[in-house]
C-alpha cells in the first residue's frame, strides 16, 4: 500500500471546503507559487484550526505549497488561502521562487545543470 491513491478534494463537499476557508475568495493568496517554500515560524497552538496546525507541523523544514496540498489532500487553491491566513498572522514565512515571472538567468541554469549531473 503506497499511500492514498484517492484524488484529494474531489470527494470533499463544497460545504467542507467553504468551512475551511471561511468562504473567502483568493485575495492575497496569489503570491503563493506551487513551489513557494513555506517555513513555520511558530508551533501549533491549542484550538487552532486543524489544517493550520497540520501546516505548521509539516513546515518545520521548508515545504513546498504543492507538497502541503498533497499531504493534506486538499486542492491547491484551498491551500493557497490557508497559507495566506498563516502568513498574514506571521505564523509562517514564505520563500518564493526567484525566477517565477521572468526567464531564469544563466547562473541559475548552471546551478541546475551541476545539481542534475551530480545526481
Amino acid at each position: 500500500m503506497s499511500g492514498s491513491t484517492s484524488r484529494p478534494g474531489r470527494d470533499d463537499s463544497p460545504d467542507r471546503l467553504y468551512t475551511l476557508t471561511g468562504g473567502r475568495s483568493r485575495a492575497g493568496s496569489d503570491a503563493f507559487d506551487l513551489v513557494t517554500l513555506v517555513v513555520a515560524e511558530c508551533d501549533p497552538t491549542p484550538g487552532m484550526q486543524s489544517e493550520h496546525a497540520a501546516i505548521l507541523r509539516m513546515s518545520q523544514f521548508p515545504t513546498a505549497l504543492v507538497e502541503i496540498a498533497a499531504e493534506l489532500g486538499l486542492p491547491v487553491s484551498i491551500v493557497r488561502i490557508l497559507l495566506a491566513d498563516l502568513l498574514g498572522t506571521g505564523k509562517i514565512s514564505a520563500r518564493h521562487p526567484r525566477s517565477a515571472y521572468r526567464l531564469p538567468d544563466l547562473d541559475i541554469l548552471e546551478q541546475v545543470l551541476v545539481g542534475l549531473r551530480n545526481l
Binding site: 473567502r24 506551487l34 523544514f61 521548508p62 491547491v76 487553491s77 541559475i108 545539481g115 542534475l116
Partner: protein
C-alpha cells in the same frame, strides 16, 4: 504490510533548512505515455499527486458558488522532487496535455523553466496540441520519445511528423531508467542555456 523499503518511502523526507528557491519543470504528454514513470525514476520522493479545480475563466474555485459552477474542471497532476544543492530544489510535474486541461496551465505552471514533451511514437498525434501551445506560450521544451518497443522511427521521421523546428532537441529515452530521465532533464537545461545565450524570443506571453 509492505516491505521495509516502501515503509522508508512513506516517511516524508524534509528539505534542508537552507532550501529557498523552488524551480519547476513540467513533463507533459498524452494518456499513459510514461509521465508518472519518468517522475518516479528521477525523484527523491515517491511521486505525490494533487489537484486543482478551476472554472473556464481561469479562476480558482474556492468558494461555494464556484464549486457549484458546472464549467469547473479538475486537473490532477503528480510531482516529484530533486534537491539540487543547499538552495535550489527542482520540482517535476507530470501533467496531461489534452486540450481540455490547457486553460489551467497559465496559472498552474507559469514560471516553469521549461517542459519535456513525452511522446509515444505509436501515437504522435497525441502531442500535437501540447507542442502547439508550448510554442505559442514561448515555453522552451524538448521532445522525448519514450520507447514502448513499437516500430523504430528515425529522428527525422518523428521531426517531420511533429513538424518540429530544427532547434528543438529530440531525445530517445526510457522513462523507467533514472539515467535516461536524468539525460532528458540535462538536455532540457542545456537547451535553455542555448536559448538564453542566443537570445531567442522565449518571453512567455500573457494569458490569451
Amino acid at each position: 504490510m509492505d516491505s521495509a523499503i516502501s515503509d522508508q518511502r512513506e516517511t516524508r523526507q524534509t528539505l534542508q533548512s537552507t532550501a529557498d528557491n523552488g524551480l519547476k519543470i513540467v513533463i507533459v504528454g498524452g494518456f499513459g505515455v510514461g509521465k508518472t514513470t519518468m517522475v518516479r525514476s528521477v525523484s527523491e520522493i515517491r511521486p505525490l499527486n494533487t489537484e486543482e479545480t478551476m472554472t473556464k475563466a481561469g479562476e480558482a474555485v474556492d468558494d461555494t458558488d464556484g464549486i457549484a459552477t458546472k464549467t469547473a474542471t479538475t486537473v490532477a497532476f503528480d510531482f516529484g522532487r530533486i534537491t539540487l544543492d543547499a538552495h535550489n530544489v527542482l520540482y517535476l510535474f507530470g501533467a496531461p496535455g489534452q486540450e481540455r486541461f490547457w486553460f489551467l496551465w497559465d496559472r498552474l505552471f507559469s514560471g516553469t523553466l521549461g517542459a519535456v514533451v513525452l511522446v509515444d511514437t505509436r501515437r504522435l498525434a497525441d502531442s500535437w496540441y501540447a507542442i502547439d501551445r508550448l510554442e505559442h506560450h514561448g515555453t522552451p521544451f524538448v521532445v522525448a520519445c519514450n520507447d514502448f518497443g513499437g516500430p523504430a522511427h528515425t529522428g527525422d521521421e518523428i521531426r517531420a511528423a511533429l513538424d518540429l523546428p530544427e532547434e528543438v532537441p529530440l531525445i530517445f529515452c526510457d522513462a523507467r531508467s533514472r539515467e535516461s530521465g536524468k539525460h532528458v532533464l540535462i538536455s532540457l537545461v542545456q537547451h535553455l542555456q542555448t536559448a538564453v545565450l542566443t537570445n531567442q524570443p522565449t518571453t512567455p506571453e500573457p494569458t490569451p
